[in-house]
Subunit: 389 residues, 2 copies
Amino acid sequence: MSITAPDGFVAAGGSAGIKAAGVPDVAVVTTDDGRAVPAAGVFTGNLAAAAPVQISRAHLQATGGRASGVILTSGNANAATGAPGRDAASRLCSAVAAGIGARHNEILVCQTGLIGIPFPTDAVAPRLAAIVEARRGNAESGAAAARAIMTTDTVPKTALVKGAGFTVGAMAKGAAMLAPNMATMLALCTTDADVAPDVLRTALRAAVDVSFNAMTVDGCTSTNDTVLVLASGRAATPSLESLTAALGEACISLSEQMVDDAEGATKVAHICVAGAESDGAAHVAARKVADSMLVQCSLNGEDPYWGRVVSELGSAGVAFDIDKVSVAYGGVVVCAGGVGVTHDAGAVQAHMAGRHVEIQCDLGLGRGTAAVLGTDLGYGYIDENRTTS
Amino acid sequence: MSITAPDGFVAAGGSAGIKAAGVPDVAVVTTDDGRAVPAAGVFTGNLAAAAPVQISRAHLQATGGRASGVILTSGNANAATGAPGRDAASRLCSAVAAGIGARHNEILVCQTGLIGIPFPTDAVAPRLAAIVEARRGNAESGAAAARAIMTTDTVPKTALVKGAGFTVGAMAKGAAMLAPNMATMLALCTTDADVAPDVLRTALRAAVDVSFNAMTVDGCTSTNDTVLVLASGRAATPSLESLTAALGEACISLSEQMVDDAEGATKVAHICVAGAESDGAAHVAARKVADSMLVQCSLNGEDPYWGRVVSELGSAGVAFDIDKVSVAYGGVVVCAGGVGVTHDAGAVQAHMAGRHVEIQCDLGLGRGTAAVLGTDLGYGYIDENRTTS
C-alpha cells in the first residue's frame, strides 16, 4: 500500500534524465483536484540546507501551511548549488503547478542525491509534464512514486496506517547520513484526515521526534532532510492524539525500514537506556552508544564488549555513576554495579548472531528512558561511501 | 631519545604477566633518587574513569602536585572493575613506592588495555620488584619503557625537546579512541626544568589543548586517558611560555605519531578551518569534519567529495553561511561561495593520493582558526575493532 491510499491523492513516478537513461528519478504526489490542502513540514537543522529545503520552507510560510502537491527528485541533491540551485528548485515547482492548475508556491519540493553538482534543469524540465499527467490514485502509481525517490536504497519504503475514520499513507528514502535531527532522508505522508494546518504541524513534529529523530547510522545530518505531510480533509476529524499516533506509527515504520536498509549494515541495533535522570538524558546516552564506531564494530564482530558501551555512557555528557550502571545484551545482564558479572555467554552469543541486537543499559539514577535505532559498522558502509563513482 | 633524557630520571620496562608470557607490559619511570618532585596531570573527562585515573587524581591532590614516579601497565585497562580495581591500582603504586623508598601516594599509575576485566594483581605484584630494580637512566631503559606501554600501537612513540636550559622527554601510547578531550592514550613527560607544581599544571594543560585535544580518530573518549609530567628541577627555571612551548612541542609530536599509527588508517587528515567567528567555533567545525564517517570514507577512497565537508560544516552547530564557505584540498580550491568551482582535478587527485591530506575550509565569517588531525576510515579500523580476541 502507499501514498495514494488516503482519499484525495494521486501520484506518479518516472524518469526525467537526472540519473542514467530510464532510471526512475522523479515522483509527483498531488491532491486529485489540484486544490491546496493543509500541509506541514519538518526540515534539516543543517545550516547548509539545500535549495529545495529553502524553497519548501518559503512556500509553506507563504501559504500559511497549505499545499497542492510535492515533487521529489533523486540523483542530485541540488545542495551547495547557490542561486542557480534555488532557481532550479523553483522551476520544478512551477512545472508541477502548471500541470495541475495550482499556484507556484502551493507545490513543495524534495531532492536527494549528490551534493555540489549543478542541477540539470534544462534537461529535466521538458520531461516533467508527462510525469505530472500520468498521476493516478491507484496502488501502482504510489509504488512507482516510492521507487523513483530511491538512491542507495535497495528497497522502496512505504507505510500505511488506519486511524479512527482516517488513513495515513507514507513513503520515504534514506539509507545513510541518518542521524540527529533527521537524516539524508525524505519522507512524505498523506492523510485524508480533516485537520487545520497548525494541528497537522504539531502532530508531525511529535511523530518525527519518536521516529526519524530516534535513529542513527553515522551521526551525519544531511543538507536535504525533509518530512512532509498533506491532509486532504476527505475523511474524519481526528483528535490531535489520534493523528499524532497514526503519523508516529507510519514514521516509525519508515525509520525502521531505513535502518534495516542502511548502507552496508548487517545488524539493526536497538539501544535502550533506562534509569537516566530524564528522558532527554537517556536519549543523549543512547545516541552516544549507537553512534560509537567502536560499539558499531563490536556489533559487526558479534562481540559483546560491554566495556565500550560503559565508556560511551560515561562520556555522553549526562549524569553517570559507574557504580550504578548495568548493561544487558538481549536481556542477559553482563555488567551490573559497573563491573562484569557471570552470565550465560552462549545466550549472549546466540542473541548477537541475529540481525536484531538489543543492548539494554540502566544508569540506575532516575526514571528517564529512551531507545535509539542504529546499525553495525562493516566493510559494506565503507564500500558504499568511499567513492561517489 | 626518550623519557630518560632529562636529568634526574630513570626508567625500566618489563613483563609482569598481564599480557601473554614475555611480552612487555609494565613500565616504571621514577626520579633517580626516589624523591618527590613537582608533577601534574590531565585526565579523561569520561565519567566512567578507570581505577588508575581515580587513584592518580587522588595522589596528586594529596601531595599538592608532587610525585616520585609513575607505573604504567598495558593489556588490561583496569576500568569498570569496581573497588577491587581501585585496590589493584593502589597496590601497584605501593609496590613501586616500596622499591624506591617513596611514599605510596607519591607514585602515579596509568593503565591501558581491555575494559571490564578484573586486574590480575596477585600474578603481577610479585614480578614488579625486579622491574623497579632494573631502572636505569640510559636510552635503552627509556626505549624499553616506551615499548612496554604499547597495545595496538605498531611502533613506540617518544619525543625529545630541548628548551632554553632544560629538556623535555616524553613517551606515549595510543592508536584509537582518539577523540575530544583526549583519547585511549597515555602520555608521560619528564623534564629537568625547575618549576613549581602550579606552573607545571598550567603549562601541561595548555600543551594538551594544542596537541592531544586537537586530534581525533573515532570520536571516542576513553576511560583511561592520562597525560602526566614530572619535573626534576635539576636544570634551569624556564618562563611559563618557554615551558609551555617545549611541552606543547613534545605533545604535538606524540599526537602526530598517534594519528600516523592510528588503527587501520591509511591517511593522516589535516582539517584546517579559518574564517570562523572564533577559534573555538573553528575547532568545533574542524572536529565535526574530522569525525565524520562519510568524510573519512571519502579520504579512504581518495575522493574529493567536498559536498560532505560543507554538509558537516553546516551541521557543526557554529555560525555558518553557505554562500560564504570555501573548501580546498591541498590548497586547490574546489568550492567557493558555497558552490563548486572549476579547478585542477589532477592536482587534487595527486594530493589525495598521498598519505597526508589537507582540507582547508574558510567559513568567511571572522578571524577564528583551528586545525584538527584525523584519519580516513577503511577496512583496517574495522578489522582491528570488530572483536577483542
